[in-house]
């Protein structure tokens, strides 16, 4: 009798344990896309009974908070979001679980994702570790009202013997930058702060000139005509066609110059597009549009790709519940809801959705931007490469190093890092 009673109570306890809701904990960055996820989470809890705890922190804190949890045998995060910066490092250290078996078992369709994003924050050397969460590829934001102005059009035609229109090539854009710089108004505003703002922005200049970071064998290809031209153009834009101080601007300061109507163009992260139409942040509501950074020819783009991916860490206390959440949050239905709220999509079917297009007419431009975008050099030492780029580019902009010397110095350190990582033989 006593035995039965004990057994019964133990079983009751056991059931109580499993009946009390499971919780999926995720560390996330405080950005708009996180807010859109947060708003939808109650639906998930209602459907599955799984609670979701989103710990939202500043970007600067994320890496230092994540690493100890990832190194531990049992960490506190069920799922994580991974910046493309960290992908190489996380994969090398073996901190993420492969998702291929789960994807296969549940018939989750990863072909819906834009291929460049799947390469960036999805697969590493053939294994799927992440699902692309949102993109922050960079685009050219420019003033449509200035392009449409009749006097500007006549002046531009007289000066350059070509029409003033949405720029089709990189050279055409640079002419417009020169043209619009006059009377305290600037052709362009740049984000020249070390390390990531300058490194990320300059990458667009490199790609626009037809350059890339490395060849198929990871041999650096920076000290080339394209690289030198990119530095020269970047330096000229900052020192001659941009506001005083853009050599030290972060993206918020540069955005403010553009949003206060003091510049014609700004190459920046695409999630800023919605902010231009927010009267509390912008004096140029309805006057700014986004497009892919133009390339050497009209069919090529020069945009830098960037994105976050969802992953399940090896140290996850409840990987199955985490996968249930990932599957849900990345389903077409929820991805569409996030996009409608203002999120930056990663799936082609969301980009092509009629409801989304009706609300955001500029999404075809964003899709083209992603399809023609270029990836940064992603490997174990990406953060170090960004540091090196930041330092050398900043020295070149300050006139303390020639473009050739700066690029040579970057190549030396890049080669060392690529060798250390085993990418370059």
């Amino acid at each position: 009798m006593l035995k039965k009673l004990l057994l019964g109570s133990v079983m009751a306890l056991g059931f109580a344990g499993s009946a009390s809701a499971e919780t999926v904990s995720i560390l996330m960055e405080g950005v708009p896309d996180t807010e859109y996820v947060k708003a939808l989470v109650p639906e998930f809890t209602k459907e599955t009974g799984i609670e979701v705890n989103l710990e939202v922190v500043n970007y600067a804190e994320m890496h230092t908070k994540l690493v100890p949890q990832l190194v531990a045998p049992k960490g506190s995060y069920s799922a994580i979001v991974v910046d493309f910066y960290w992908v190489g490092e996380f994969a090398k250290a073996g901190w993420m679980q492969p998702l291929d078996d789960r994807i296969k078992a549940d018939n989750f369709d990863t072909s819906a994702y834009i291929p460049a994003l799947m390469d960036l924050v999805g697969k590493v050397d053939g294994t799927t570790y992440m699902l692309p969460f949102y993109n922050y590829a960079m685009g050219l934001t420019y003033r449509t009202d200035l392009l449409a102005d009749a006097k500007n059009q006549a002046d531009f035609k007289a000066k350059y013997n070509m029409d003033l229109r949405v720029p089709q090539t990189w050279d055409e854009y640079l002419k417009q930058v020169e043209f619009f710089t006059k009377d305290g108004f600037y052709g362009v505003v740049n984000q020249g702060l070390r390390p990531d703002p300058i490194a990320m922005e300059w990458s667009n200049y490199l790609f626009a000139n037809g350059g890339e970071y490395h060849d198929a064998n990871w041999k650096p290809t920076l000290n080339t005509e394209a690289g030198v031209k990119a530095i020269e153009q970047y330096t000229t834009n900052i020192n001659k066609y941009g506001p005083v101080g853009s050599a030290s601007f972060g993206f918020d300061e540069a955005f403010n110059v553009m949003a206060q109507g003091k510049a014609y163009s700004y190459i920046t992260y695409n999630f800023f597009r919605t902010s231009y139409d927010d009267p509390s942040k912008s004096a140029v509501v309805g006057k700014v549009e986004i497009m892919p950074v133009p390339g050497a020819t009209p069919d090529k783009g020069g945009s830098l790709n960037g994105a976050w991916g969802w992953a399940i860490p090896k140290s996850s206390p409840n990987p199955d519940a985490a996968w249930t959440f990932l599957k849900w949050v990345e389903s077409k239905e929820i991805a569409k809801k996030r996009a409608l709220a203002g999120g930056s999509p990663t799936r082609t079917d969301v980009f092509d959705d009629p409801d989304v297009l009706a609300k955001y007419p500029y999404y075809p431009a964003l899709k083209k931007l992603l399809l023609t975008s270029h990836n940064f050099a992603v490997f174990t030492y990406t953060p170090q490469l960004v540091e090196v780029l930041g330092r050398e580019l900043s020295l070149a902009v300050a006139g303390e190093k020639s473009p050739q010397d700066a690029l040579a110095a970057i190549e030396v350190e890049f080669t060392e890092l690529a060798k250390k990582d085993g990418k370059l033989q």
């Binding site: 890496h63 230092t64 690493v67 190194v71 490092e89 090398k92 250290a93 020249g192 702060l193 070390r194 390390p195 300058i198 506001p243 005083v244 101080g245 853009s246 050599a247 030290s248 601007f249 300061e253 403010n256 110059v257 206060q260 003091k262 174990t380 030492y381 953060p383 170090q384 540091e387 930041g390 330092r391 900043s394 020295l395 902009v397 300050a398 303390e400």
Partner: protein, 299 residues
């Protein structure tokens, strides 16, 4: 009788002392754990190849990390820059701080009001100071250049010019920390005895002579302690750089603390970062020991 009394009091003394140690033991243990343990652990780490990608002590490298640090031209640059920054900041803050302290020492009315105003910057978090000044100094939208513009001075590129940026950081640091100097020096000044000054006045000394021959010598200990504390804090300057310049433009404001931070948390090379920290600690300890002995020799 005398001898026996002496012995008894000695025994009592010893008991007292032992009891004192026993009382102090818990706090000494805590101090040991939170100060000495991290230092020793850093020393241990600095002798190994320890990175966050492979966090283990499998490879003993001896002094290789120290060699790598000292052989790194960037590290030497940031150390040299830090030295100049520290000297600049401490000297300027001392001169301004002493001047203000001397003036305030004479003030009779509203002293608490002045204190409250002076302490405001000191109570602010350095990150907030950095952010506020970044906004003030924004070349196009900031208030500083706007005010300069109203008197016909063209916009200054506060943080984007390699020659100006370090001075901008020094100025902001002075704004933030000078009240620390003022408060400490003022405390020293107000505790000085009045008699020597009265005697000097009777002998016909003027204010300058009083300052050089009475105030300075009597204030020497306070001055050294103030300089020392400020010096140690200045070497550790990190938050202002992180918020305001990230070491740029170029490498114009790349102070050593920020450099070590990057080695540890961007390069993930904890071993080399520990070696750099140990080098920095050694330099600070040497200077502290020297100043401390100098101070003792005065007394």
């Amino acid at each position: 009788m005398m001898v026996r009394m002496g012995q008894a009091s000695n025994a009592a003394d010893r008991r007292d002392r032992r009891f004192g140690y026993a009382l102090a033991a818990p706090s000494l243990t805590v101090l040991f754990l939170i100060i000495l343990f991290p230092v020793l652990s850093a020393l241990f780490t600095s002798l190994h190849e320890y990175t966050l990608i492979a966090p283990n002590f499998d490879t003993f490298t001896g002094l290789a990390n120290f060699k790598a640090a000292l052989g790194d031209a960037e590290f030497r640059h940031s150390a040299w820059l830090t030295l100049r920054f520290v000297i600049g900041v401490v000297l300027l803050e001392f001169v301004i701080g002493f001047g203000v302290a001397l003036m305030l020492n004479k003030v009779e009315r509203f002293k608490p009001v002045y204190y409250a105003i002076l302490l405001c910057p000191l109570l602010m978090n350095p990150v907030i100071v950095g952010l506020i000044w970044r906004m003030f100094l924004h070349p196009n939208l900031g208030i500083v250049n706007y005010l300069l513009g109203t008197i016909g001075i063209s916009p200054v590129n506060w943080l984007g010019d390699t020659k100006i940026a370090i001075w901008t950081v020094i100025l902001v640091d002075i704004w933030h920390q000078v009240s620390f100097m003022i408060v400490l020096l003022l405390a020293g000044l107000s505790s000085l005895p009045k008699e020597p000054y009265e005697a000097a006045r009777v002998d016909g000394a003027n204010a300058f002579q009083c300052f050089v021959h009475i105030t300075l010598p009597m204030m020497r200990t306070v001055i050294i302690v103030t300089l020392l504390i400020r010096f140690i804090f200045a070497v550790k300057t990190y938050d202002l750089i992180y918020i305001m310049t990230r070491g740029g433009p170029g490498v114009a404001t790349d102070l050593v603390s920020y450099f070590i931070y990057r080695t540890a948390f961007v390069s993930l090379n904890i071993g080399e970062a520990s070696a750099m920290s140990i080098l920095l600690l050694t330099a600070i300890l040497a200077l502290t020991a020297y100043l401390y002995r100098y101070m003792r020799s005065l007394n």
